[in-house]
Symmetry: C2
Subunit: 207 residues, 2 copies
């Protein structure tokens, strides 16, 4: 029997760098599948359809909602964001690990369906640093920055729902930590009951 894959849900406030961490993780580990979200927001410079996001019109997005093709979806800063259900389920069944980069509310919704997932919250070293990172993007208006920071403060109060905290101080360190979490989680007792059973069934001392 093929072992079910691990669903890693990586979340954290906007601008914390969770996308960069997940991308670096997938670049380093060919066997890790990065889930691609669906959104109605406009592509930023260099973002490619089907890689960064599946970019959809609002009408197309609403069609996906109607056909129950999304795992979860939400509206954020007037744009729709959603997680396509089908690919993730197929990958997990094949024993493939999937990393899902998502916002906090989305992560909490995924948790309702996949409590066996691994839920990781990426924290900024400080709120000052978070502000700098959002400003550094150069793509946000002043109002959008204020809104994102306010929201970040609220989201940080929801970390209790997450098993792990990664302080994203240095990219390489964050990626290595994520890799360690994957290795460790695969060793959790609850994920290894079949292996224990297998060794016990061949217990030569009792035959």
């Amino acid at each position: 029997m093929k072992r079910r894959g691990l669903l890693l849900v990586v979340c954290g406030p906007s601008g914390v760098g969770k996308g960069t961490i997940c991308k670096a993780l997938a670049d380093k580990n060919a066997e890790i599948f990065l889930s691609v979200s669906v959104t109605t927001r406009k592509p930023r410079n260099a973002e490619v359809d089907g890689v960064s996001y599946h970019f959809k019109t609002e009408e197309e997005f609403k069609e996906m909602i109607r056909h129950d093709e999304l795992f979860e979806w939400a509206v954020y800063c007037n744009n729709y964001y959603g997680t396509p259900k089908k690919y993730i389920m197929e990958m997990l069944q094949r024993g493939q690990d999937v990393v899902l980069e998502i916002d906090v509310q989305g992560a909490l919704k995924v948790k309702e369906h996949f409590s066996e997932g691994v839920f990781i919250f990426v924290l900024p070293p400080s709120m000052e640093e978070l502000k700098k990172r959002i400003e550094g993007r150069g793509t946000e208006t002043k109002e959008s920055i204020v809104e994102r920071l306010k929201r970040a403060g609220q989201e940080l109060k929801l970390t209790d729902a997450f098993q792990y905290i990664i302080v994203n101080d240095e990219l390489d360190h964050s990626v290595k930590t994520l890799e360690a979490i994957i290795i460790a989680e695969k060793c959790r007792s609850e994920r290894n009951q079949e292996i224990i059973k297998g060794v016990l069934e061949n217990d030569i001392s009792v035959h």
Copy 2:
């Protein structure tokens, strides 16, 4: 405030190789402190007092019990084994990580006192392989081998009490897994409440 160290309790049936894993881990990571047990059993070839074990006479051991100097102790195959309390407590308070290699019953006793410890069960790839490893030592009598295997079968039924399972197939892989568990455990939410609080207290968006 200095963060309290991590207590890693590595356990598994006799002969599974838990001692070799822990020693290799400490050799590779100078900052990891290996707890040294106290025993009344005779030293095997090349075992050094104070390194492999603190070797004591039965009278000395009983004196330690009377003075409450042991964290836990047990009799196994007519020998006393115990865990000295003082060093472990001091190291943890200093923020030092401590690895404690111990038998299953000892681990369960430690868990009663340190539920915040990390409890790891080392599994043999199979019972056949475990038998080979015990025989390979060349230090056990036929009766002792039978007794150890029977006990191993019973111990494998107690893995529920442990958070992690490592199948000790290949030493280097087991050591790397243990290192990953240490990194991952340091990121567990419950161990990082102070950090979250720190970022929240400096939430610039609410001032």
